[in-house]
């Protein structure tokens, strides 16, 4: 799976240009709310949030630099969904380097997915986000489309 495929799982209605949250729990809740408000047949907010919090308790997904990948499988979804969020001020997400996190890629996967899309999507995002220039371009993009183009290199 390449980054274009990943972005087909995301969409402008799953993009939060600027999080209002200032802490980890609120940031996760805001991203889950975005998911529930979108047209993805997920109405059960609490079970998805609980799954993400349980995962974070086992070790932070903020593997840096400045990026976190909250993720997991949930009964509440039939499809792999990606919510993307940014925080220009940064949020304490218990990152491995101790620095604030500015970019969030939340992946919620179904119990089963063909070809292990979930892991492929996660790997593609993690790889892209290691590139400083791509990460900066993504962070500074005005909107979803330009953020997408920043990552895929499209004009």
């Amino acid at each position: 799976m390449d980054i274009k495929d990943v972005f087909e799982l995301a969409s402008p209605d799953l993009f939060i240009p600027e999080l209002e949250a200032t802490n980890k729990q609120d940031a996760l809740a805001e991203m889950v709310d975005k998911l529930v408000d979108s047209d993805h047949q997920i109405s059960n907010r609490e079970t998805v949030l609980q799954m993400l919090l349980s995962r974070e308790q086992l070790g932070s997904t903020a593997i840096g630099p400045g990026v976190a990948f909250p993720h997991g499988r949930a009964l509440a979804t039939q499809d792999l969904i990606v919510v993307i969020a940014r925080s220009s001020k940064g949020i304490d997400f218990d990152s491995t380097d101790g620095k604030p996190t500015n970019l969030f890629f939340m992946l919620v996967a179904p119990p089963q997915d063909s070809g292990n899309q979930y892991l492929g999507a996660l790997a593609a995002l993690v790889e892209k986000m290691q590139d400083d220039s791509l990460r900066d371009a993504f962070l500074n993009a005005d909107e979803f489309d330009s953020a997408f183009k920043a990552l895929t290199g499209e004009e």
Partner: protein
């Protein structure tokens, strides 16, 4: 939502995490990404949550789990996603929101998303 059902769903989601973490290929890839999770910690969390279930429901959960890997499943398009049998439409009614329901065909615990 019913606290017992919430717990059962959380347990099943942790079971899915454990399944991925115990898969050698998945685990190796997660480790490369810096996202590997210790399986013993997942098991400890699972056990703690299982102990929170009321004894009667826990007994039922353990009986189903001895037969199938996924004792708690979602209902999608009116079907149990464990055995794919149809689920009566009455299951989705407001009166059932706070109840732990079981598939009439396979006995799995049902979650209506």
């Amino acid at each position: 939502m019913n606290r017992q059902l919430e717990l059962l769903i959380s347990i099943q989601n942790l079971e899915l995490m454990l399944r991925d973490a115990e898969d050698a290929d998945n685990s190796a890839e997660m480790e490369t990404m810096g996202l590997k999770v210790d399986t013993e910690r997942i098991k400890a969390d699972l056990e703690a949550q299982i102990q929170e279930i009321e004894p009667r429901e826990r007994g039922y959960f353990n009986r189903i789990k001895s037969r199938v890997d996924n004792p708690v499943v979602a209902v999608w398009d009116g079907h149990c996603t464990g055995c794919f049998a149809g689920v009566p439409t009455s299951f989705s009614s407001v009166a059932n929101v706070n109840k732990v329901l079981h598939c009439e065909s396979c006995g799995r615990i049902l979650f209506i998303p």
